[in-house]
Symmetry: C2
Amino acid sequence: MCSCLKLFSFLCPQDQFDNLEKYTQWGIEFVERYTKFVKERSEIELSYAKQIRNLSKKYQPKKNSREEEEYKYTSCRAFLMTLNELNDYAGQHEVIAESLSSQIISELTRYIQELKAERKAHFHDGRRAQQHIENSWKQLESSKRRFERDCKEADRAQHYFDKMDADINVTKADVEKAKQQAQMRHQIADDSKNEYLAYLQKFNKDQHEHYYTLIPHIFQRIQEMEERRIERIGESMRCYAEVERKVLPIVSKCLDGMTKAAESIEPKMDTKQVVETFKSGFEPPGDVEFEDYSVSMKRAVSESSFLNARGESRRRSRSKLWPLIKRNKVKTQTGAS
Amino acid sequence: MCSCLKLFSFLCPQDQFDNLEKYTQWGIEFVERYTKFVKERSEIELSYAKQIRNLSKKYQPKKNSREEEEYKYTSCRAFLMTLNELNDYAGQHEVIAESLSSQIISELTRYIQELKAERKAHFHDGRRAQQHIENSWKQLESSKRRFERDCKEADRAQHYFDKMDADINVTKADVEKAKQQAQMRHQIADDSKNEYLAYLQKFNKDQHEHYYTLIPHIFQRIQEMEERRIERIGESMRCYAEVERKVLPIVSKCLDGMTKAAESIEPKMDTKQVVETFKSGFEPPGDVEFEDYSVSMKRAVSESSFLNARGESRRRSRSKLWPLIKRNKVKTQTGAS
């Protein structure tokens, strides 16, 4: 403290209060500028988090939709897991925004008010000290003027007495009157000399106190205020980095989650799912048998019923055979049989 | 492979090609949807990086401005360092965006084209196989019809011959003619029977090949295509997390830089700077001496010159004394002396 007292006391007060007022004003504006900077950063983090959340939401499967049942596939589930991790990731950037706002922005905003009040007080004290020494000087000046004037009066009275005393045509009474007048003037000059001396002592005492005690103390308090302000900015800047460093481990957990999701994908499982979904259970049809119409010669009666039976079985086997045939085509075929 | 061949060969082809077409189409759309998702994420990262860069730029000191010379203070330099680290931090999010775009988006976009082409080829083969077995069936059907018709013809000719043979009023020649006719019809029926048998064999061979070789192979290739697709999505998802994990160490270096910047702040250094800037070098004025106007009595001549001298020194000492006096006030004071 005494060191900085020494430092700041090197400042001659002449015009330095004005400079210090400008400097400390700038100091407050610097804190305000930094606070604004952190505020804008926090807003960027919020909007980033919002966009990421929306992205995650946008690609979530719609409830009770075809999409939802797609999540029987490991690849779809992995995507869903990624989206959920992404949502947590967004949450971490919200944490950054909230911490910046609660640990820096609101703190500094409050602090700036304290700082303004303290600064005002110091310069108020400074002005009062200046006012005091100024008044003390005025008193000294006027008492000096009075002394000067009274000396002139006394001088004039002395001259007049000497003149009368040297004049032989003047009555003793007049000489006596002039003598008393001169003595009275000398008495008045002596009195205002003492008053002037008293004010001179007072002023020199005040001036010494002003330069060696009052002003240095004010400067010291301003310097302490400044050093606290700079200290405070430093803490905020440290906190600014800390806030984000705190979320890094959680962010990297989210990334691990995404990697785990990706590794949980099992292509064979998914294709097995497809088979489970689509397999009809049909067995491939066996060979078509020979139909010997030659044995049916002369047995036209049984023939027709036999043909119908074949027609049946044929239609069944056919419908098994042409999965890709257009429906109407199958109709004509069936109709043909 | 044979296991998945077994799996997919459980699928009876009936309508399964249609289902597989739908499923594989959905598979392609899933890759497209994922690609779109990564694209949107990359755009979010870019705009975030842009905002952060602008923020850093906005608070940089204006070149050749009063701001710039403020950077003699450690607190201002620390802020500048924070801004530079923040700029690098933005750069890392640009790296994320670029990696997503080069390692996932463009890769998958190209891959989707390959996938579409391969899928088209498989279903083309499928349809061709179906077409082939269909034609084989048609040949079988018509040859069977022909055989059936020829048997009826032979039957009719046989009945006619028997009728003629039993009729005593018919000439031998007519009987012989009917007999030859019947024999010829039988011969034709035998021929179309052999043709029918040949087509039957061919069809059964085709059908067996269709169900036990062609279709299973197509299904297998489709399944392999699907498994490659799912594998590919998995790789992309792994890459998606990796891209961001890679920048984390650099991000945390940026944060270390910000912390170092904050710790580089030295309040006492900065206040020392202030003193260096503002100190006037003036020494506090000494005591004001007594001016004895009484000794100047009767020495009016020298008096005036003496007074002027005092007036000088007074004006100097005064201007030292009232830093806070309004300029005009100083004027009047000076004028007064």
